[in-house]
């Protein structure tokens, strides 16, 4: 540590004003502050400060996503072997499944972080600002909302697009209007629909030499099946899929989204630490449940009959509610606004799913739409406060 500190102190003059590498100060600074919390003492205002900072906040969110990532790695292997008719029981072939999953998922994670951080560092150098920690989270979110079969170059392009167009053009972390990770996903969804939707992208069913895909195989996600069959959904091997199976996540889907349980563990971490907004999470689930129950009552097609509970555990609903809707920058910022914002996300997500089967992942579109609407919600909440203050004068 002493050595590291001394090295950094020795290197620092090169990056400071007048130094050879002056331009790259933001990059050096990011590295330095990554290793050492700087010894900056409070200069004005409060003399003591809360232990938390942006790095701690972001790393906590990354930590909360780890259960989803781990489950996603395993599930990538599980679905693969299901398609080949091997290790049908979830308890079997743990190491094979994990090794397979690691081989598929890790490269996507590495590419997302690599592409995104490169853009972030360049943007910081151009703007002469410090590198923001926001991408630590986006870089993990992006892989988790990708299908397992997504080509790596697409991950890179989507990430670069999301960071530049979704974030940096607005001024960087804290200034963006739409969630960068969902911007990446939406970009691919509309630019390369065949790679982001349909029945063939969710499971890596490529057989090795001497293996074959089972005859009954169909890569359709439960969400896609429900359009035709309502509550009766199956695994990729046409075995019935229970609500509990879906809750645990034994189904095809984007890498990190399938297990509602893993999402809830993440939610627990976010709620205990106080980083995630319980108001948003709660109201997203409430909004989704209400819409699903309204559909149940008015059902005219199989998808409308799908139970509320099933709707909430299918697709990316839980993942979106826990990790995407709660992004504080793009969500409503007032406490009252958060209830409205969350409720409408849940409500719209189920509505889009059911009314527009071309977009089975209503969650992504609902969140992006509400990202745009969030400032409007806040505006009205703040106006109500102003009205309260003015009415105080009149009644007094």
């Amino acid at each position: 540590m002493e050595f590291l500190r001394n090295t950094l102190d020795k290197l620092r003059p090169n990056f400071e004003k007048g130094g050879k590498l002056e331009k790259y100060l933001p990059a050096f600074d990011a590295m330095e502050t990554f290793m050492f919390v700087p010894g900056h003492a409070a200069k004005s205002g409060a003399h003591i400060r809360d232990g938390i900072d942006m790095k701690r906040t972001m790393i906590t969110v990354v930590l909360a996503m780890i259960p989803c990532l781990l489950f996603g790695i395993w599930n990538a292997g599980h679905q693969h072997f299901l398609a080949l008719g091997q290790f049908l029981d979830p308890a079997e072939g743990l190491s094979e499944k994990i090794i397979f999953g690691l081989g598929k998922v890790l490269p996507i994670v590495v590419v997302a972080y690599g592409a995104g951080l490169t853009v972030e560092f360049i943007a910081a150098i151009i703007r002469k600002e410090q590198v923001n920690e926001g991408f630590l989270v986006s870089g993990m979110l992006i892989p988790l909302v990708m299908p397992i079969d997504v080509p790596l170059w697409m991950v890179a392009i989507a990430t670069i697009f999301a960071v530049i167009i979704g974030k940096e053009v607005f001024g960087g972390t804290g200034m963006n209007i739409m969630n960068p990770a969902l911007t990446a996903r939406a970009f691919l969804f509309f630019a390369y629909p065949t790679k982001m939707s349909g029945d063939n992208v969710w499971v890596d069913a490529t057989p090795q030499a001497g293996e074959a895909v089972v005859d009954v195989y169909s890569g359709a996600t439960p969400l896609a099946q429900a359009i035709e069959t309502g509550n009766d959904v199956t695994t990729i091997n046409q075995d019935p899929l229970t609500v509990m199976d879906m809750f645990l996540g034994f189904m095809p889907g984007s890498i990190g989204e399938t297990s509602t349980l893993a999402c809830l563990i993440g939610a627990l971490i976010l709620l205990i630490t106080g980083i995630g907004s319980w108001r948003i999470m709660l109201s997203v689930f409430a909004g989704g449940a209400v819409m699903a129950m309204i559909f149940n009552a008015l059902a005219v097609n199989p998808f409308m009959e799908v139970h509320a509970m099933t709707q909430l555990v299918m697709g990316g609903f839980a993942f979106g509610a826990v990790f995407m809707a709660t992004d504080p920058v793009t969500a409503a910022q007032t406490n009252t606004g958060k209830y409205v914002y969350g409720f409408l996300i849940g409500f719209l997500a189920i509505m889009i799913r059911v009314f527009n089967p071309a977009y089975p992942e209503g969650m992504m579109l609902a969140i992006l739409f509400m990202n745009v609407m969030a400032p409007l919600i806040d505006h009205y909440v703040v106006q109500a406060n102003i009205k309260r203050r003015l009415s105080r004068v009149k009644t007094a």
């Binding site: 290793m35 400060r49 406060n385 105080r392």
Partner: protein, 464 residues
């Protein structure tokens, strides 16, 4: 000396007490609370008045180096309101007028006499004086600056009549002194002070006591005031929060406030006819060996209090509390309004991977550090920022520690863009720096909240 305790015990016309439950806020548990013992340490030889303690006051100097002054002799006045004078807390000789950049006056230093002599002021029962006379004596003697107003948190204007006057009987800030202890036995002077204050108010006088503690009889037996009970975590003791809940300030309205020790000084002024600037100050903080209460005087140096009484080398001396106080030198002087001195460790050392550490020794509103498992633990927090400034990312944090119906982030953003009309709408008249000090403490993005709030207040005041 007059004794009129018996005369003032009239039936209380304001028996309607209110109680306010504050739910939002945060008690930062620090090491080094003052033990309830007075320690006898001689008051420093020099004392100083610091114009910077008086917000928005433009100084007009009334003394020069070498002048002999008594306690109560005017040293300087406010250019914009020359009735408001600032008088010497002791008798002695003006030895230095310390100036800073642009010849701004930083300190007016007095070398104190061994025996203090006093200017003679009116000795009278406040009840017998007219409001105008009362104000005149308060101004002349130099106790007027103790009375401050909302909006803007500046010294009250003697020409105004406030719609109410507020006294917070308790201080909820970290390690703050206990007023129940400090005022013990001063019932008469306190009541006399209250009688004077009551005359100044255009409406009620609110005396707000802590519902979670047994308030001193000095407070509960007070008459002529409305006694309200306030409960909850800091900043429940902040008068701004109390005003917001009891009688909020609207545009065009003025509310005055002062602290219990200020009321005591006003009481002594009329009982004894002299400006007695003695103050009880709590010496607190993790770096103080013996944290005790000191009987001292406004503007005294902290030198004698901390002599042979410190732990550690690199420490920060704060006149006031850790959230709102002013950093001073080891031989620096007490602020005019401060009743507390806090000494904490400086935090100017980098920490290796500090943002990843489990953080048993870090206190946080969030539960991202394992310290949340030990809620009763007391901390020796240092002055480190614990991170770097960033754009706003996290939301809802300020709202957890600001018990007012006010949108703090929206207000700060309005200040950043200079939108005065929006600031009025959002309630800038109701706040002062201290009310949002906890917001600054909890801020993940390390925004200078208090500095911004003052900027906003100045901006709005200029437009008024």
């Amino acid at each position: 000396m007059y004794t009129f305790a018996s005369q003032t015990k009239v039936p209380d016309p304001f028996c309607m007490a209110e109680s306010v439950k504050i739910r939002k806020g945060l008690n930062i548990k620090l090491k080094g609370k003052a033990e309830k013992v007075y320690v006898d340490v001689p008051i420093s030889e020099t004392i100083a008045l610091k114009p910077a303690d008086f917000t928005n006051v433009r100084v007009k100097l009334l003394c020069k180096v070498g002048d002999e002054v008594k306690s109560g002799t005017a040293l300087f006045s406010d250019k914009d309101n020359e009735r408001v004078v600032f008088t010497s807390p002791v008798s002695g000789e003006v030895v230095e007028i310390k100036r800073g950049a642009k010849r701004k006056i930083l300190e007016v230093k007095i070398l104190a006499d061994k025996e203090i002599t006093y200017e003679a002021f009116k000795q009278a029962n406040p009840a017998d004086l007219s409001r105008e006379e009362l104000i005149e004596w308060l101004c002349k003697s130099g106790v007027w600056p103790l009375i401050r107003q909302r909006p803007f948190e500046i010294i009250a204007n003697p020409e105004d009549t406030p719609k109410a006057i507020f006294i917070s009987a308790f201080n909820s800030a970290p390690l703050a002194g206990d007023n129940d202890f400090i005022l013990h036995g001063h019932g008469e002077a306190f009541q006399t002070g209250l009688d004077a204050v009551a005359k100044l108010s255009g409406g009620k006088v609110h005396l707000n006591i802590n519902a979670n503690a047994t308030a001193s009889k000095v407070f509960t037996n007070s008459t002529g005031v409305q006694i309200n009970k306030i409960s909850g975590p800091h900043p429940s003791g902040n008068v701004g929060v109390q005003i917001h809940h009891l009688d909020a300030v609207n545009k065009g309205e003025v509310v005055w406030h002062l602290s219990p020790q200020d009321v005591l000084m006003i009481g002594r002024l009329f009982m004894e006819g002299k400006y007695d600037a003695s103050r009880v100050v709590a010496l607190t903080g993790s770096q103080v060996k013996k944290t005790r209460y000191h009987k001292t005087i406004i503007g005294a140096s902290i030198k004698n209090m901390i002599a042979n009484n410190l732990e550690g080398e690199d420490v920060r001396y704060i006149s006031g509390n850790v959230l709102t106080g002013t950093q001073i030198d080891a031989d620096g002087y007490l602020g005019f309004y401060d009743t507390q001195v806090t000494v904490i460790p400086e935090g100017n050392q980098p920490t290796f991977l500090g943002w990843l550490a489990p953080g048993f020794d870090k206190f946080s509103l969030s539960r991202t550090f394992f310290s949340w498992l030990t809620p009763e633990k007391e901390y020796a927090l240092n002055s480190n920022m614990n991170g770097e400034a960033r754009a706003y990312v996290v939301t809802g944090q300020y709202e957890q520690v600001l018990p007012m119906d006010i949108y703090p982030v929206q207000m700060l953003k309005a200040i950043m863009i200079g939108d005065v009309e929006q600031l009025e709408n959002l309630g800038i008249y109701e706040v002062a720096e201290e009310d949002l000090a906890l917001c600054e403490y909890v801020c993940t993005s390390k925004v200078d909240v208090q500095h911004l709030i003052r900027e906003g207040l100045d901006m709005v005041k200029k437009e008024c």
